[in-house]
Symmetry: C2
Subunit: 209 residues, 2 copies
């Protein structure tokens, strides 16, 4: 049996396109992929577990780790840092496990720059502007201005679709989950991910002579 | 709805690894992929239909077409020419149909040189040398020499596995058919094959402002 190297599956989309529901279902369906756990400097909230929801670290340690190049990607959002520790991901990939990321185009670009060969990126699109707007009106009292702001941010995120390997238009949630799962299963069969293939081929070919 | 450009799915393997059975099942399961029909200069045999089994052409016409660059790939096998007419394949791809090829590494290399972006290549391997040998002994009276010759040709074909995108080890026929079908469905979702994506994105983003 050929052992394989894991891959990093990135799902990006404008907020409201259904990415989070797809990610949650994929984790339930497929036991060989794990959600990436980020480190953050923001305080722990009630109910959050260390190492499950986040790794909680202080700002000084986070900045030292940035300088040491220990993050696969990171970002500052308002007053806090969020980032993916490189070591944990590399350990998972080497042991043949896949890692799922629910991140935006900026995080995806950082991962691409560091580990192109292990990255598979999918961009999830809403089926239409009308459908996106419907999903972005989260409460009846949302003002037109608030919704317009969300739509503008969605348009900005969507302008980065050419940077992704695969495109899924989320007409139907179940079909979109199937599509992401299909991409994951196919990408596992890439020659470049078959870790012990050279050894297997050597045995196979030597046996022929 | 986004229209898509078709792709060329190439299956290669040493003889005896199960490629032909996989190809036949895939065509039954998936109606959007068609078998490529080759042109040949060899005489038509009883029961063969023009345009279904082969396009039967004379050698003079075949050679003129080679010089005009009208073949996607071609080869001379003993006294006859075999080749894939480029025009037919291009027509299928443009109309969003996929084309399946059951060819060796040399044909695959020729297609790669002409149309890399539309090509998805899969190499099918036998699970072990013992299993390959079992499948290559086609008749009880096959001599050790005949079998050894087949094994040597298999080893030679297998040396080209690094030129392929995906590797499938054929432990179980049904699982291998599933794997090829999964690769086909995933590759259809590649951004580069979504023919009308630019237009779709333009509408989506304009609608946001």
């Amino acid at each position: 049996m050929i052992t394989r190297r894991g891959l990093m599956l990135v799902l990006s989309s404008p907020s409201g396109a259904g990415k989070t529901s797809i990610a949650r279902s994929l984790l339930t369906r497929d036991k060989e992929i794990n959600m990436s756990v980020s480190a953050t400097t923001r305080p722990r909230r009630p109910g959050e577990a260390e190492g499950k929801d986040y790794y909680f670290v202080d700002e000084e340690k986070f900045k030292i780790d940035i300088n040491k190049g220990l993050f696969l990607e990171y970002a500052r959002v308002f007053d806090h840092y969020y980032g993916t520790p490189l070591g944990l991901v590399q350990k998972l990939l080497s042991s043949g496990c896949d890692v799922l990321f629910d991140i935006d185009w900026q995080g995806t670009q950082q991962i691409k720059a560091k580990a192109r060969d292990d990255l598979v990126s999918i961009f999830v699109l809403p089926p239409s502007t009308a459908e996106l707007e419907k999903r972005l009106i989260t409460r009846a009292q949302d003002s037109a201005e608030v919704v317009a702001g969300r739509m503008a941010r969605a348009a900005d995120e969507m302008s980065h679709y050419p940077e992704y390997d695969y495109i899924i238009v989320n007409h139907d949630l179940d079909q979109s989950i199937d599509a992401v799962h299909t991409i994951l299963k196919a990408e596992r069969l890439r020659r470049s991910r078959q870790a012990s293939l050279t050894e297997f081929m050597k045995q196979l070919r030597e046996g022929c002579s």
